[in-house]
Symmetry: C2
Subunit: 354 residues, 2 copies
């Protein structure tokens, strides 16, 4: 990153402070501001940024709560007439629509940004300079954003260790509606069906539903904000999912097995489109289930055995049986290595179940 670019981060929350910390630790000059002077002082201490802006700013990063982002971008465009201005909100269209209403200047210098930290980290844990390491960071352009402004944000994103992905505003919002917001709502609604269920029903729950509704545990206040900002695309998606569920129910009601199979096959094909490890296809992996005594050290022994056999694990899943003092561990590896791993583990006295 160009060493002569001074950065101003507005918003001293987890994301803003993490950006400031990540950039100062790479020797960059960073300024921080926040309307809460106590929070600002804490963030300055943690991040090594400065709160007295005494140099010209090249990049402004707006890291405030979603509802305030557009107004702060508009003000920053006036206050810092040479700066590229970007943000970190997880929905982009609502911000750019508000910017139009506000009659903002400097459209060519405004670049949407969305660091995808993979999970919503709450404030309690505190800022980390490496929060964005190896994470995708969408750089979302409007029709008026200049290539130079995009290049400037790209440099900053790469300095933070994230990898940039380039989309239009609309592409970004439609994409996150499909691959993030709608799954969140579906998981929440499905999990909600458990609230009034008999305990004797819920007790039979296994790993399948556990995975399906895992993200239903996300922060409801934060997600209300996110979903509300992207409501149009999400509502379209939800309506389509609901229609397809009702079609599925009809196929079951009428005993149309071909239609049921077709819909299940389509789901499997959709899942196979997800990017696998390092972009690899998901189809080339296989799983092995190992039974472990539930005590510290057994997992370490298992992974040491896998490493000794030179097997790289694609995924690991621990499956706890209700009320049992042992655990089942599912290892996902490349299909071609499974018959190397199995005897290697058995030689070390592991109970390989399937």
């Amino acid at each position: 990153m160009n060493q002569d670019k001074n950065i101003l981060v507005i918003g001293a929350g987890l994301i803003g402070t993490s950006i400031a910390l990540g950039l100062t630790s790479h020797g960059r000059k960073v300024f921080l501001s926040d309307i809460d002077s106590g929070a600002l002082d804490d963030a300055v201490k943690v991040s090594g940024a400065s709160k007295h802006i005494d140099q010209e700013i090249s990049i402004v990063v707006v890291a405030t709560p979603p509802a305030s982002v557009a107004k702060i971008i508009a003000a920053a465009a006036i206050d810092h007439p040479q700066a590229v201005i970007t943000d970190v909100a997880s929905v982009k269209g609502s911000i750019f629509r508000e910017l139009e209403l506000l009659g903002t200047s400097g459209w060519d210098r405004i670049v949407g940004g969305h660091p995808m930290a993979g999970r919503e980290v709450s404030g309690a844990i505190g800022a980390q300079g490496n929060l964005f390491l190896d994470r995708p960071w969408v750089i979302a352009r409007s029709s008026k954003t200049s290539p130079e402004a995009i290049a400037t944000v790209k440099e900053m994103v790469e300095a933070l260790g994230a990898f940039p992905l380039f989309r239009t505003i609309e592409e970004h919002d439609r994409a996150v509606a499909l691959i993030s917001h709608t799954p969140q709502v579906v998981a929440s609604v499905l999990a909600g069906e458990l609230v009034d269920a008999e305990s004797s029903y819920v007790e039979l729950a296994g790993q399948g539903i556990r995975d399906t509704i895992r993200i239903a545990g996300s922060d409801s206040r934060l997600w209300t904000e996110i979903l509300s900002e992207n409501s149009e695309y999400i509502s379209q998606q939800l309506t389509q999912v609901a229609k397809h569920l009702l079609d599925f129910a009809s196929a079951l009601d009428s005993g149309d097995r071909d239609s049921v199979t077709e819909r299940l096959v389509k789901g499997s094909q959709g899942r196979d489109r997800l990017p696998g490890k390092h972009g690899a296809s998901q189809q080339s992996t296989a799983t092995l289930v190992v039974r472990l005594d539930d005590k510290p050290g057994e997992l370490a022994r298992l992974f040491a055995a896998a490493a000794k056999a030179q097997i790289n694990l694609e995924d690991v899943r621990i499956d706890h049986s209700l009320g049992q003092p042992t655990g089942l561990v599912e290892l996902t590896v490349a299909q071609s290595t499974i018959e190397i791993l199995r005897p290697a583990l058995q030689n070390e006295d592991f109970v390989v179940i399937s």
Copy 2:
């Protein structure tokens, strides 16, 4: 298990052969039968069971494809007038309804069974005597099943290392509709929406949707069978989920944030009802994200460090970033131990991200 009980397993597929193998390896006398004499010969070889039934049978286990189970139970009730008869199909009501139509004798000796192996293991891997180790195995009674017959099946289930859970037929089928079959359909439908999506959208997919649709990769032929057998309860559930998704869409459309929040909170409450490790609540855990170089041995080193700190891991998740040569590992531990684990890992030069 009572040593004088001879067992006949009908159906030499993965489940039947695994049951036979598990019981012979505990010194039980087991007979196997199958209409496919080639498959039977293989299964006899693998399991140590016998195919020539020359002793009185005390337990018949029907492990044939779902559609044939009722007829085979009815025949077994006549052929083995002293035996307790059970099965391993994943839906029970449809079998018992067919038994009524068939005018079956010996109702008191018929016990429904459902070993919940946690994931659908395909035939390719082959039988394992310990397939059921630490797994729940539902023992489902009709109103006419005798306590003695239930006790006999319980003994067998425990001999296989599984742990028995007792339900009525209806409880079982309603429960699996809720916690297994409906999540399967929802995951398949949601994954199906990806089939025609732009690649630039799907590329942004992260761990959230990956977990939500993981089970969409299940065997579509097998699941067509399962879903069709339990269609009534599943259809009811799907209709309800669809209605709640449409209600959610309406709340978004009308900008009713309180309603959105309320629905998200309900999802979180539902998720908290899932049994945690050893029946513990899910709420008392916390997660830590660690960055690993993607090479054999790094996971082993990580788990060795956790073990050294005497920390027991509740769950592990490997999060591969698209196109990156490193991986992020999420460790779930008891809330109370997270501030022991963090410095322990940092001391061993691990990059702890959040």
